[in-house]
């Protein structure tokens, strides 16, 4: 190394302690500055709150999954044109239900919410309400407004005496049947199986009944229908507990298992989601399909071998029991703390109003909620499923309206899928599901989970 210059010239500098303290102070202040630095010009832009003059239009933002966002694009434009002072902006979110929920949750947890309205699926409502993220709506939508809806469509929107969501659709699970293979749809589960086996024996069709048996939320929807159809229930609202080990529940699970064992449904059903089952049915492989209303449109649009030969009916139950389809509705909720609640409510009123619902029914096949729409003969003509959907809305089934639903659904789907893939009998499966559900409730709610009604301990 080359010779260094002498160090003596630096003796002028102050001594150690002073340097250390100034250094630490500098570090501390730098850190404090960084921490307290609000969204500065560099780290944010565009969304900074600029002073809004009274004449500036108010922007109301609503987060929706992409397909629905596209479907309401025209009505949104209409709303914007006819309401000066309010601009409704639709944020297109991901298609997948879970993904869009995660997106919303991430923002809500951090307290920085870039939207005023959220399109909420019925299965998340309890969780979001318990987290205290929504504003109750009964102030603007009183009982007289709700009375104009079909009774079934009113379900799944209220909790603890408050209205938390205005429903946009009234979809339920439906039973699809082949009109070319039978004269009328089955009236109960036994008839369904009998007809299937007969058709299979005669070689008219490969499989009897296609449904969603994959380990995901779709299987929970199927379970809700089957449990109800056998007189069992998943959730007891008064005790806030699950009742999965009742004899009726075991019978329900056993029926599903038997479908695979007896060959009425293919083994592959254990990996089917909605689209897989639909694809197979649309190719003419089966006599019956359990799916949502959108499937009808897909079959008719697809132009496959069964086009024009498909009928739809309400979901069936066991002989002597009333069947019921799972409610799978979307609705709009108002985010608590939105700066423009009045304008946002106006947007809700429009988007869930009859004009938009009529268009959704005609173009996408979604079931409306307003009774007047169901009475409309023109709509009855243009939306062929309307009568069936109305009939289905007489006995819709709710998934357990508890904030713990996601976990309960996950473990039931896991257990039942295990049963379908041969890992256990119906009795042990439901017993395990019940035991694990109780553990989850206890773990989630503390000592309150053992006795109370599963409502949040802190009243918001």
């Amino acid at each position: 190394m080359a010779a260094r210059p002498p160090f003596s010239s630096l003796r002028r500098w102050r001594s150690l302690p002073k340097l250390l303290t100034t250094g630490l102070l500098a570090l501390l202040s730098a850190t404090v500055l960084l921490v307290l630095l609000p969204a500065s010009g560099l780290s944010s832009s565009g969304m900074s709150a600029s002073p809004v003059a009274a004449a500036d239009p108010v922007t109301v933002r609503v987060l929706m999954p992409a397909p629905l966002a596209d479907a309401v694009a025209a009505p949104v434009a209409q709303f914007n044109a006819s309401s000066p002072g309010v601009v409704l902006e639709v944020i297109r979110g991901p298609l997948d239900t879970e993904t869009i929920s995660d997106l919303a949750t991430g923002s809500l947890l951090l307290g920085e919410v870039p939207f005023d309205l959220l399109l909420v699926d019925v299965s998340w409502l309890a969780r979001y309400v318990a987290a205290g993220w929504f504003e109750p709506l009964e102030r603007w939508f009183g009982p007289e407004v709700l009375a104009a809806m079909e009774a079934g469509a009113r379900l799944g929107n209220g909790l603890d005496g408050h209205l938390w969501r205005m429903p946009l659709t009234g979809d339920t699970g439906l039973l699809y049947w082949r009109t070319d293979l039978m004269e009328r749809p089955p009236r109960d589960t036994e008839e369904l199986v009998a007809i299937s086996r007969d058709l299979q024996r005669r070689g008219r069709v490969r499989w009897g009944y296609l449904w969603q048996g994959r380990q995901y939320e779709g299987l929970s929807c199927v379970m809700v229908e089957v449990l109800h159809g056998f007189g069992a229930r998943w959730w007891n609202g008064s005790t806030a507990r699950t009742e999965l080990d009742s004899p009726e529940a075991v019978a329900a699970a056993q029926w599903l298992a038997a479908l695979l064992q007896d060959g009425v449904s293919p083994q592959a059903v254990a990996s089917y989601a909605e689209n897989d089952a639909l694809q197979s049915f649309a190719a003419g492989d089966a006599a019956f399909l359990r799916n949502w209303p959108y499937a009808w449109r897909e079959i008719e649009k697809g132009g496959g071998p069964v086009k024009g030969k498909v009928g739809v009916t309400a979901m069936v139950g066991a002989p002597g029991e009333q069947g019921g389809g799972t409610l799978g509705t979307w609705g709009l909720s108002l985010i608590k703390g939105s700066p423009h609640p009045e304008e946002a409510v106006a947007a809700i009123r429009w988007l869930t109003g009859p004009v938009v619902q009529r268009q959704l029914a005609i173009e996408q096949g979604y079931a409306p909620t307003w009774s007047t729409l169901y009475d409309d003969p023109d709509l009855q003509r243009r939306a062929p499923l309307l009568t069936v959907q109305r009939q289905a809305l007489q006995h819709p089934q709710l998934r357990p309206p508890t904030p713990a639903y996601a976990q309960l659904s996950d473990l039931l789907a896991r257990q039942v899928n295990g049963m379908l893939t041969g890992q256990g009998g119906s009795g042990s499966t439901m017993a395990a599901a019940q035991r694990q559900s109780l553990q989850v409730l206890r773990s989630l709610a503390g000592p309150a989970g053992d006795t109370a009604d599963g409502r949040p301990a802190v009243d918001r």
């Binding site: 003796r11 500098w13 565009g46 979110g93 991901p94 991430g106 951090l110 920085e112």
Partner: protein, 264 residues
């Protein structure tokens, strides 16, 4: 042999490049006519809202802030550690090694709690705080090794001359640490750019997303149409900055990792 290795390393990357330059129809089936190549995917990605280069900018900002903060904290710490003897030195060293091995994602819940409590969310500068903390173990270990490499006589001579600590650091030691500082800095920069879990939970605003999160969102938002051409374009653009960095700075990176390995 070398060709195989190159194919393995670069194959997927080159394929992404190819995909990004193809028209959507050409992706699904080989085109019989017309030019399959296009820049439309890039235009799509760049004209998004917010435009793609914004994510690159966000990541760079956080990475720079993290690197500066980390070095500011790590240099004195490494020096101090180097001066320690016995149990404290060994203990802290072991602790740092253990900390360096912890997968970042396991810390996200506590850090989310901190973000909510101190209102640090959606702030790119604040994000550099946990990032610096996560990079500190590696940085301190590398810099301590570098300090240890310096001949002791140099500092002794400076001390004899009457220079205080600050002066010794500034005028004697740090200039010699240049390469070590550079490689440590680059490694911290790379790590910060790569981080996912903390940014995922700390940043929810669309225009503040860092690159990995933005890419994940783009990929997760797929609807029935599969714009893989656009995905590929995003992938290529997301890769470019770091690829360039590595190609230009491969010597310091390698020497940094090497030193870490030898001393570790």
């Amino acid at each position: 042999m070398r060709l195989l290795v190159l194919l393995w390393s670069l194959g997927p990357l080159l394929w992404q490049l190819r995909t990004s330059l193809l028209r959507p129809e050409a992706l699904l089936a080989p085109l019989l006519e017309g030019n399959p190549w296009t820049l439309a995917n890039y235009r799509l990605v760049l004209s998004g809202d917010p435009p793609f280069w914004r994510y690159l900018g966000n990541s760079t900002l956080v990475a720079l802030a993290t690197t500066v903060l980390t070095l500011l904290l790590a240099v004195p710490c490494a020096y101090g550690l180097q001066q320690q003897r016995g149990l404290l030195r060994w203990g802290v060293g072991l602790g740092l090694v253990a900390a360096a091995m912890v997968p970042t994602v396991l810390l996200f819940l506590a850090l989310l709690e901190i973000a909510r409590r101190f209102d640090l969310a959606n702030d790119l500068f604040a994000l550099s705080l946990p990032y610096a903390g996560l990079s500190l173990p590696l940085a301190v270990l590398l810099l301590r090794a570098a300090f240890g490499d310096l001949p002791a006589e140099l500092e002794d001579a400076a001390r004899l001359e009457g220079l205080g600590l600050g002066q010794r650091l500034r005028h004697v030691l740090l200039p010699l640490m240049g390469p070590a500082l550079a490689s440590t800095g680059i490694l911290v920069f790379l790590a910060s750019w790569n981080e996912y879990a903390i940014a995922l939970t700390w940043i929810s605003r669309n225009d503040l997303l860092t690159l990995p999160i933005a890419i994940a969102r783009i990929g997760g938002g797929s609807v029935f149409t599969i714009p893989y051409g656009a995905f590929a374009a995003a992938t290529v653009m997301g890769s470019l900055p770091l690829l360039l960095l590595v190609l230009l700075a491969q010597r310091p990176i390698v020497s940094g990792l090497t030193r870490g390995a030898v001393k570790g």
